[in-house]
Symmetry: C2
Subunit: 245 residues, 2 copies
Amino acid sequence: MPRRLSAVLSPAEALPSAVTALVVDVIRATTTAAFLLDGGARELVLTAEVAQARAEARQRGALLAGERGGLPPEGFDLGNSPREVHPGRVRGRTVVMTTTNGTRAAVRAAVAAERVGLAALVNVGAAVRWAAARGGDVVLVAAGREGRAALDDAYALGALVARFRGLEPDARLDDGARLAQALFLAHPDPRPLLQSSAAAAALAQVGLAADVEVCARTDALAVLPELAAREGAALRFRPVYPKGV
Amino acid sequence: MPRRLSAVLSPAEALPSAVTALVVDVIRATTTAAFLLDGGARELVLTAEVAQARAEARQRGALLAGERGGLPPEGFDLGNSPREVHPGRVRGRTVVMTTTNGTRAAVRAAVAAERVGLAALVNVGAAVRWAAARGGDVVLVAAGREGRAALDDAYALGALVARFRGLEPDARLDDGARLAQALFLAHPDPRPLLQSSAAAAALAQVGLAADVEVCARTDALAVLPELAAREGAALRFRPVYPKGV
């Protein structure tokens, strides 16, 4: 029986259980996560709260990254911008990262699925190869925004669905997957679509509009951040480089 | 300032407050509601529970309509099929109706908005004329399915957004409205899109696949079911026939 490919567009919805989950917060957490590991960071630790991120970073001797309201909290080494990631700064380091929506989605995914990866447009091919390499149902989880479905995440879910169907034309799509795929297929160029999202508008308000173009670079990176372990309330991800299937 | 037009695709999401709400359960509750009032029913009373529907119908001397699992509960006069609605049967009558998702969405909308209408593809033009005739923010509320966003409802929300923008090009869309509109614009013919939904698949399993084609008849009806009163846990709707704006 072909596998089921579900897409949960709204962070308010319950996740179906699955073998594999891909978590998407395309503007910007999962994009930046991919850039951090591609830039040579050894591992990435996600936490939900700022205080917890500070404690984890102290304990691990790690760099501290993330945002509240789009900007880095006081004392953080990095924000949540993929443009800040320079290999010279992150290579070999552990990075502790806290973001508003992406971390929450990853925590939920880790409950619903056996294995969890972080996906964005920049690593859509790597994410799909990784997910397809093992059998069983796949769920795509959008981080969303303020408890609602977000246009940018829905679009990236659609890109993942379309690419997955390219590998496995018989995969059974749920309504969410069909909806996301239709959005993606109608907009071959991600840039104007991402630019029209509420997330892009919020970035423009804090002077980070240029991040959106980076988030739109489909297949720029070959890395997939894969959940290696839950450590208390923190999620530790390591880089993997999925081969073609 | 141009008004805000929001579309809430998932029944799990909180509704923003608005002056006007349009509730959509295109397969089939709001389609059937429009057919009932177009067919001459005097009013329509929505209830969430079957037992409550029976009590309301007894008390009001009303016809009893609705579904559980797609089929009419025992002793009901009508199911939830627009094809069952014959003017000879419903003219002048009050109809009490209970459906799984549509009623719940209408109850939520009645809390969030001052005025509530029921919209589907069959009355998309009437619904938009009614909503646009008064100022203030508008929220489009999808009933969804099993707590998740549904493809058919998202498409109908997109039809409403596109039509609304035709009247008011400056209306400010949220991410949900943009997502729904993109789905609609990519599929000018509603039939294959609705047919691919989980709701259509469920209808086919109970022998009601032919309902879907009726739900796809855009602008077939000029009626808008408008919330007249909340009466305890029941919502009473009356027919209005919005003129052009």
